[in-house]
């Protein structure tokens, strides 16, 4: 048995969009409440599908390459960031809306993906992941069969 933390409200969301079930977000750290204001701690993710691959865009501004761990275990992809809190003296936050230094987002990979072909790059605060589809899952151009 596995223990999976699923926010029922979010799961409902996904049922609206059938495609989303391909990459179901099984476990996330949600926004934590500090005082009355919500601080965003969970990076937003865009998912795109092309003919030959899926693309994930994870908005995690302020992080460096070395802050990320991208782990593929069986059909689960985890993106983890763990940055030690810097102690900054004499600085007081009067407004805090985001803090992406510690998070984990997990996705179920669809069967059509080749887990050995995943590429990642970090650019302007966005982590781009390219997940190639297996050869047999690629969309083939329409073909016309002639009657012999």
């Amino acid at each position: 048995m596995t223990l999976v933390n699923v926010n029922p409200k979010r799961r409902q969301t996904h049922s609206v969009n059938p495609f989303f079930n391909l990459f179901n977000d099984v476990m996330t750290y949600s926004t934590e409440e500090t005082g009355k204001k919500l601080v965003k701690t969970r990076p937003e993710v865009n998912i795109l599908e092309g003919k030959e691959d899926f693309k994930l865009e994870i908005a995690a501004p302020g992080l460096k390459k070395s802050d990320f761990d991208i782990i593929v275990k069986k059909d689960v992809l985890s993106i983890v960031a763990n940055v030690e809190n810097e102690i900054t003296k004499d600085v007081k936050y009067t407004r805090k809306e985001f803090d992406y230094r510690n998070f984990k987002r997990t996705f179920h990979l669809p069967k059509s993906i080749d887990p050995s072909k995943i590429e990642a790059k970090l650019e302007d605060g966005i982590l781009y992941l390219k997940l190639s589809k297996k050869e047999e899952a690629k969309e083939l151009p329409t073909r016309k069969i002639a009657i012999g």
Binding site: K9, R10, Q12, T13, H14, V16, N17, F19, F20, L22, F23, T31, K37, L38, K40, E44, V45, N46, I47, L48, E49, G50, K51, F54, K55, E57, A59, A60, P61, G62, L63, K64, D90, V91, K92, Y93, T94, R95, K96, E97, F98, D99, Y100, E123, D124, G125, I126
Partner: protein
């Protein structure tokens, strides 16, 4: 000493919460965040605004300062060609937004500097000399 207050904070927070917590749950992934989050901190010498706006170039930003406020806006040409890709889920899109901050009294408006790094726009607003908190001083009696 006043704090930097987000002008549209009441409106924004309604929108933010509404979009992030409710609408998304109802409609799904079609509603994406498009107003970046901001952190504001204050130290002895200056105020600092950090705006989480990943995926842009420094040329995309417009920062305007008037008497009482500072406005950050962006306009990015749709250069991201989709090349036949379809969005399965869209949670963010920071290509076009405007966010306004009220400036406190006692800041050097002429000395405001900004930089864009790792998807964060950092704006430093120095305090005027007379507005800085001075360390406690002891006066000796002669």
């Amino acid at each position: 000493m006043g704090n930097i207050i987000n002008f549209s904070s009441s409106v924004n927070s309604i929108f933010d919460d509404f979009l992030n917590n409710q609408l998304v749950n109802f409609i799904g992934s079609d509603t994406a965040s498009n107003v970046p989050s901001a952190n504001v901190s204050v130290s002895q010498d200056d105020f600092k605004i950090e705006l989480a706006a990943p995926g842009l170039q420094k040329e995309n930003f417009n920062i305007n300062v008037d008497k009482k406020s500072l406005t950050i806006s962006t306009k990015k040409e749709k250069s991201n060609e989709l090349n036949g890709d379809k969005f399965i889920s869209k949670e963010f899109n920071y290509t076009s937004f405007s966010k306004k901050f009220q400036l406190p009294k006692g800041v050097e408006r002429e000395a405001i500097v900004a930089k864009y790094e790792c998807g964060i726009l950092e704006i430093i607003i120095p305090k005027k000399e007379e507005a800085k908190e001075l360390p406690p001083r002891t006066i000796q009696v002669n």
